[in-house]
């Protein structure tokens, strides 16, 4: 805990949740997205329809799901469907507004690696792989990314492209997405423990807001390229007492995500 009264992880989760203010249907990913979306549902987006790839539409979890297949996402949900229906009728059909993803590595255009560090055939570190992320990145109308910033994760070239972002830039991405009939426009925001990045007209991420207590030196030290920073760089509003209470007391009392 910093002397600000909240941790960087708490700031990241709160900032990510706020991004969902106007979203209607959100596909919830494993890990950090899970807590951010559950916080949004309790704050800025009470009408949010939470979709879990395990086969749930309109989840009303009574506790923070321990995983994306937790029984609490079933009890009280609008619908429980097979995974074929979930991926086919809901995602591929184009009904998902926001796909919320995590990442091990990301490049400046928001292309994501969650598969391996090193060579695929002889990996240094084997990561979980795609899960549903690959098709979510392609078929959710837009993609939000939440991840901690580090020089190992914000890299010039990702080791494996698991989930496509803005490919080699906005122009190329738009052309390929249109020609290929993808539902998704690609990533629109990356929320980290240091700030909020939004993708500009070239398709590259640009720092829009710095979290309280974070510095531009830290940002530059945890990114492999010279980052674009908006001239009117903002400071992210600190978490409110209510946001912190929800995170600490209701959503993550064990501090699994927020340490």
């Amino acid at each position: 805990m910093s002397d600000l009264g909240f941790t960087r992880s708490e700031m990241m989760i709160v900032a990510a949740a706020r991004e969902l203010a106007r979203a209607r249907v959100c596909f919830v990913g494993v890990g950090l997205p899970n807590i951010a979306v559950n916080l949004a549902k309790r704050t800025v987006a009470p009408d949010l329809e939470m979709v879990y790839e395990a086969g749930v539409f309109g989840a009303r979890p009574a506790r923070l799901p321990l995983s994306i297949g937790d029984p609490t996402i079933v009890t009280g949900a609008t619908a429980v469907v097979s995974m074929f229906e979930l991926f086919g009728y809901y995602l591929q059909r184009g009904l998902i507004d926001v796909g919320f993803l995590g990442a091990a590595q990301i490049d400046r255009f928001g292309n994501i690696n969650t598969t391996v560090i090193g060579d695929y055939g002889a990996p240094k570190t084997r990561l979980p792989g795609s899960g549903g992320a690959c098709e979510i990145a392609i078929n959710a109308r837009e993609v939000f990314v939440i991840m901690r910033q580090s020089a190992r994760s914000f890299v010039n070239e990702i080791d494996f492209r698991t989930s496509p972002g803005n490919l080699g830039g906005a122009e190329q991405s738009e052309a390929i997405r249109k020609a290929g009939g993808w539902n998704g426009r690609g990533p629109s925001v990356v929320v980290t423990d240091l700030g909020i990045w939004r993708f500009d007209v070239t398709g590259e991420m640009c720092l829009e807001s710095l979290h309280p207590g974070a510095t531009l030196d830290e940002v530059r030290a945890t990114i492999a390229w010279e980052p674009k920073i908006r001239s009117d760089l903002a400071t992210t509003p600190a978490p409110t007492a209510e946001e912190l209470r929800l995170v600490r007391e209701e959503l993550d009392p064990g501090g699994v995500y927020t340490k």
Binding site: V30, P71, M83, P128, R161, T162, I176
Partner: protein, 308 residues
């Protein structure tokens, strides 16, 4: 014993053969741990293990030496971290000269599509995924295909037809008519795609219970070879309405799985040295089991009507 009801020992001995492709499906929910442990206990070898999320059960089975290959789409300990026993068999730094585990990797929708192609007797299933990713390079079985009706290109995956699919469920009758509620995952597709099907249930019910609620039947006895009655057979995963996920187990597995010696000691203590699931549950203890019991939230009932 009536119908297809048998013991886990006999079902696995008769229906799972060395070299088989085996799918124990169940997405977080209803994971057939007791079946996986019996396969380890019987020292099956050279299996091709298929599962969307290998989960702790395949970490244990692969550590138990039963598999030569893994087909999957998300390799993690859900909500906890990595699957370390499997990673040790993939990452060269920890292989120590041993042959690596062969892997064949998809996305979730790709795995579901493979089972669906298998279940519906089709040569492939098309899907809008994999564009501009490295997955088709990593797995050449993921191939682009042009629509016969337009210039559109999508990706195709081949059918997955397991020799044996093993499905855990809340209840079935003695002929294997199986009812599931809660997350359905891809169990139906995996069962219809398979040559042989083993059903493991919390509760054996009379046929009349199934017939009173036919919409809840996911797998018909028509495709089922054996029914095994093993309450708590999905522990440490969960069964909707019966018991919660034993999250402590998943957390505890992480440090165990980081050490090959500890993994082998765990398998000895909880698999090899126990005769069956009943002994495992007794060893786990009544208190731990009782702590997993959820509160009650019954569904309303519907009226199917009587038409004579």
């Amino acid at each position: 014993m009536p119908g297809k009801v048998t013991s886990m020992r006999d079902a696995v001995a008769a229906l799972v053969r060395d070299g088989d492709t085996v799918a124990i499906e169940g997405f977080t929910h209803l994971i057939g741990f007791s079946a996986g442990h019996e396969i380890v206990r019987q020292h099956k070898r050279d299996l091709v293990l298929a599962r969307m999320t290998p989960d702790v059960i395949y970490d244990q089975m692969i550590a138990g030496g039963v598999a030569r290959k893994l087909i999957f789409s998300w390799l993690g300990n859900p909500g906890v971290g990595g699957l370390n026993a499997i990673r040790r068999r993939i990452e060269p730094a920890s292989l120590a000269g041993e042959r690596p585990l062969e892997i064949e990797e998809y996305s979730h929708f790709g795995m579901v599509a493979r089972y669906t192609a298998g279940a519906t007797n089709l040569p492939f299933m098309p899907l809008r995924s994999y564009f501009e990713t490295d997955l088709p390079k990593a797995n050449p079985l993921i191939r682009p295909i042009k629509s016969p009706y337009s210039d559109e290109v999508v990706y195709a995956v081949p059918p997955l037809n397991p020799d044996v699919s093993i499905i855990h469920a809340q209840r079935a009758d003695a002929n294997g008519n199986t009812q599931i509620w809660g997350l359905l995952g891809c169990q139906k597709e995996a069962a219809f795609a398979a040559d042989r099907v083993i059903i493991v249930v919390e509760e054996l019910v009379d046929e009349s219970v199934v017939r009173a609620d036919p919409n809840r039947t996911v797998i018909p006895g028509l495709i089922v070879d054996a029914v095994v009655v093993e309450p708590y057979g999905a522990h440490p995963s969960y069964v909707q309405g019966a018991y919660d996920r034993d999250n402590r187990f998943y957390l505890d597995w992480d440090p165990i799985s980081r050490d090959e010696g500890k993994v082998q000691a765990w398998l000895r203590e909880w698999v090899y040295d126990l005769p069956d699931r009943a002994a495992y549950i007794e060893k786990l203890g009544a208190e731990r089991v009782a702590s997993l019991r959820p509160g009650s939230a019954p569904s309303g009932s519907v009226d199917y009507g009587s038409y004579r």
